[in-house]
C-alpha cells in the first residue's frame, strides 16, 4: 500500500456496505477513523508504510453497523460512496462519512490480508 506521488495507486479492495444506525437524531456508523493528509502519519499503528496519510479504521464498536458489515480494525478506506479517501484531510473524511442525508455508505477498503488471499488464489489457480 505504498504510494508514489504522481503514480496511480493500485490495491486489492473489498466493497463493504454499511447501513447507518439511527441513534437519537444522528446516524452513526459505529467505528472511528484516524489519519488524513493533515495528520502525522508516523503515529499510525496500522499502516505498513509510515508515510501513508490515508484514512484508517482505528476502532470498531462491537455490535455496531460496521462490525456487522465486516469492517475490521486497521482497514484503510479508499473510497466512500465514490469519494476518494486517499488524499483528504481528516475533517473532509469525517464529513464524507457523516452525511446525514445518506443512510448507507459504500466503502472500498483495503487490507494486507486481501492481497495475500488474492495471491494465494492465483497461485492455486495457476498451478
Amino acid at each position: 500500500m505504498s504510494f508514489v506521488p504522481g503514480q496511480p495507486v493500485t490495491a486489492v479492495v473489498q466493497r463493504i456496505e454499511i447501513q447507518k444506525l439511527r441513534q437519537g437524531d444522528k446516524l452513526i456508523l459505529g467505528f472511528s477513523i484516524g489519519g488524513g493528509i493533515d495528520q502525522d502519519p508516523g503515529q499510525n499503528p496500522f499502516s505498513e508504510d509510515k508515510t501513508d496519510k490515508g484514512i484508517y479504521v482505528t476502532r470498531i464498536s462491537p455490535g455496531g453497523p460496521a462490525d456487522v458489515a465486516n469492517l475490521r480494525m486497521g482497514d484503510k478506506i479508499m473510497q466512500v460512496n465514490g469519494w476518494d479517501m486517499t488524499m483528504v484531510t481528516h475533517d473532509q473524511a469525517r464529513k464524507k462519512l457523516t452525511k446525514q442525508k445518506e443512510d448507507v455508505v459504500r466503502l472500498l477498503i483495503t487490507r494486507k490480508s486481501l492481497e495475500e488471499t488474492v495471491r494465494l488464489q492465483l497461485k492455486s489457480m495457476l498451478s
Binding site: 452513526i28 472511528s32 477513523i33 502525522d40 464498536s61 481528516h90 469525517r94 462519512l97
Partner: protein, 525 residues
C-alpha cells in the same frame, strides 16, 4: 645569602629581590641537576606531622652545596628586551666558575641586559652631545628644524623607556633549560644595530669632525626610530605571536590520570612547558600520594599465585615456558578481586559520607557559638558583660568542638597530610573575619583543591625536569610528546594541532519560521 634548601626552576614572584631569588634558583637548579640520582635516596616526605605546616608534595632534599656543576646548558633570565646573549653567558660562566662565588653570577645576567639597554637608550643622547662637547665652534648652528627634531627625539625616547618598563622589566617566572631563542635573537639584533650605528658615527662624524649638526641630529633620530621598531618586533615575537591558539595540549598526570586539555599558540617546547606548569598549579587537584594504591586486602589476594615446578632436568630453556605457564594459570584462575574492590569502594564511600555529615554538623554548631559584635552593642555591654575576643581567640574558642570531627574526616579522605592544626586554625580565623558561613569554611576541606592552595608562599622555587626527545627549543608540532617530571610523578603532554575550521554560511529568512500542529485525532463516525 640564605642557606635553607630551596628549589629553582620555577620561582614565584616574592618579596625577595629579583636578583637574589634568581641567584638561589640558579644555584639550586644546577645542584639538583647534577645530583639527581643521589637525591632520591635522601628524599623525606613528611606526612602526618602536625608541626610541619604543609605537606610539600615535592619532597625535601638535603642541604649541602654542590660545587661540581659542570654546566653544559645555559640559562637566560632576561629582564628587558635587551637581555644578555647566550654566547656572552657561556663565556662568562666559564670565567666565573672557579673564581667567584655563585652570587655574583646572579647579577651578571640582568646587569648585562640592563647595561645593554641603558647603552642603547643613551646612545642617541651621546650622538647629540659629543659634537657639542668636542667641536662646538665649528658646528653649523641649526635653528627650528633641529628643535623640532629634539622634541620628537625626547618623546620617542620617553615612549621607549615607558614601554620597555611596562613590557620587559618583569621578574622572570621561570628559568628555562636552554636559551630563549627569540630573546637572544632580539638582543643580538639590538647589539649589532647599536654597534653598527656607533661604527658609522665614529667613522663619519667623530673622525672628520662633521660640522653639519642637523645631519647628526637626524642620524640620532633615525636610531631612535629604529629602536622603536625593534621594540615593536620584540613585542610581536615575545608577547603577541603565541596568543592565537594553534595547538591543543593534553596534560595527563602519570600517577592518577588527572588530565586537562589546553589551547596554546606557537611556542617552543620549553615555553609551552612553562605555560603548562602555570596552568597545572591552578587547575589540577593536588597530588595526594596516599590515594593511589588499591587497598592491601585486595592486592594481597593476587600475590598468592601458585608455583610451577618443572620436573624436567633441563631447566635452562624452561624459564620462559615456566613464566608463561604461570601467567596462563593466573589468568585462568577465577579472579574475584574485582568484587572485593567494588565492595571496598562502596564501603569507603559510605564511611566518607558519614564522616562528612558529622563534620558538617559539628562545624555548623560551632559557628553558632560566636557572633560578630556590632559597634552599638559594645556600648550596651555593661548589662551583659561579654568577653570580647579578636578573631584568633574566637577561632581557638570554637575549634575545640569541631576538632575531632575534622580530624576523623581528614583521616578518612587521606588529606591529613595537607592540613595541620595550625593551618586549620588560621583558615578558621580567616573565615570568621570575613563573615563566612560554615559551608564556606568547609569548602577547603571537602574537596581536594588545586595545587596552588597548598603552596607555601616563601618564595621557594619548584624544580621540574623537562624530558623530551626533541631539542627543547624546537617549536611545537603535531604528535610531539614531552613530559615534565618531578620526583614522584610526572606530567605527560601530548600535542595535537587544532583542526582547521571551514565555516559556511546559511541564511534563514526570519519569515520562514512557520509551524503546524502535529495532530493525531480519531473521530468516530
Amino acid at each position: 645569602m640564605d642557606n635553607e634548601s630551596q628549589y629553582s626552576g620555577y620561582s614565584y614572584k616574592s618579596s625577595h629581590s629579583r636578583s637574589s631569588r634568581k641567584h638561589r634558583d640558579r644555584r639550586d637548579r644546577h645542584r639538583s641537576k647534577s645530583r639527581d640520582s643521589s637525591s632520591r635516596g635522601d628524599k623525606s616526605v613528611t606526612i602526618q606531622t602536625p608541626a610541619e605546616p604543609l605537606l610539600d608534595a615535592e619532597s625535601t632534599r638535603g642541604d649541602d652545596r654542590d660545587d661540581n656543576w659542570g654546566e653544559t646548558t645555559t640559562v637566560v633570565t632576561g629582564t628587558s628586551e635587551h637581555s644578555i646573549s647566550n654566547e656572552d653567558l657561556t663565556r662568562l660562566t666559564k670565567d666565573l666558575e672557579e673564581s667567584t662565588p655563585l652570587e655574583c653570577k646572579r647579577f651578571v645576567g640582568p646587569a648585562l641586559g640592563g647595561c645593554l639597554s641603558f647603552f642603547a637608550l643613551v646612545t642617541p643622547l651621546a650622538f647629540l652631545i659629543l659634537p657639542q662637547v668636542l667641536w662646538r665652534d665649528t658646528l653649523e648652528p641649526c635653528g627650528t628644524p633641529c628643535e623640532g627634531l629634539y622634541v620628537s627625539l625626547a618623546f620617542k625616547l620617553l615612549v621607549l623607556l615607558i614601554s620597555s618598563w611596562a613590557l620587559f622589566l618583569r621578574p622572570p617566572r621561570a628559568t628555562l633549560p636552554r636559551f630563549f631563542v627569540f630573546r637572544c635573537l632580539l638582543m643580538v639584533l639590538v647589539f649589532l644595530f647599536v654597534a653598527s650605528y656607533w661604527l658609522f658615527y665614529g667613522v663619519r662624524v667623530l673622525e672628520p669632525r662633521e660640522p653639519d649638526y642637523r645631519g647628526i641630529v637626524e642620524y640620532a633620530a633615525s636610531l631612535v626610530d629604529a629602536l622603536l621598531f625593534i621594540q615593536y618586533l620584540a613585542l610581536v615575537l615575545l608577547e603577541v605571536r603565541h596568543l592565537q591558539p594553534a595547538f591543543c595540549l593534553k596534560v595527563v598526570r602519570s600517577t592518577d590520570g588527572a588530565s586537562k586539555f589546553y589551547n596554546v599558540g606557537h611556542l617552543s617546547i620549553q615555553r609551552a612547558a612553562v605555560w603548562v606548569l602555570d596552568r597545572y598549579y591552578s587547575d589540577f587537584s593536588v597530588y595526594n600520594p596516599a590515594t593511589l594504591n588499591l587497598p592491601k586486602s585486595i592486592l594481597s589476594k593476587k600475590m598468592t599465585g601458585f608455583k610451577v615446578y618443572s620436573l624436567d632436568e633441563n631447566t635452562t630453556n624452561n624459564s620462559t615456558g615456566q613464566s608463561r605457564a604461570m601467567i596462563a594459570a593466573a589468568a585462568r584462575r577465577r579472579d574475584n578481586s574485582h568484587n572485593e574492590y567494588y565492595y571496598e569502594e562502596a564501603e569507603m564511600e559510605r564511611r566518607v559520607r558519614k564522616r562528612k555529615a558529622r563534620l558538617v554538623v559539628a562545624v555548623e554548631e560551632a559557628f553558632t557559638h560566636i557572633k560578630r559584635l556590632q559597634e552599638d552593642e559594645a556600648a550596651s555591654s555593661p548589662k551583659h558583660p561579654r568577653e570580647v575576643m579578636d578573631p584568633r581567640e574566637a577561632a581557638q574558642a570554637i575549634f575545640a568542638p569541631m576538632a575531632r570531627a575534622m580530624q576523623k574526616y581528614l583521616r578518612t579522605t587521606r588529606q591529613q597530610g595537607f592540613h595541620s592544626m595550625e593551618s586549620i586554625l588560621t583558615h578558621l580565623q580567616f573565615c570568621i573575619t570575613h563573615n563566612m558561613t560554615p559551608k564556606a569554611f568547609l569548602e577547603r576541606y571537602l574537596a581536594p583543591g588545586p595545587t596552588m592552595q597548598y603552596q607555601q608562599q616563601n618564595g621557594r622555587g619548584r624544580q621540574w625536569t623537562l624530558v623530551s626527545e626533541e631539542p627543547v627549543t624546537s617549536a611545537l608540532r603535531q604528535g610531539l610528546v614531552f613530559s615534565l617530571r618531578r620526583v614522584d610523578f610526572s606530567l605527560v603532554v601530548t600535542v595535537t594541532p587544532l583542526p582547521f575550521l571551514r565555516l559556511g554560511e546559511e541564511f534563514i529568512d526570519p519569515k520562514s519560521h512557520k509551524f503546524v500542529m502535529r495532530l493525531q485525532s480519531e473521530t468516530s463516525v
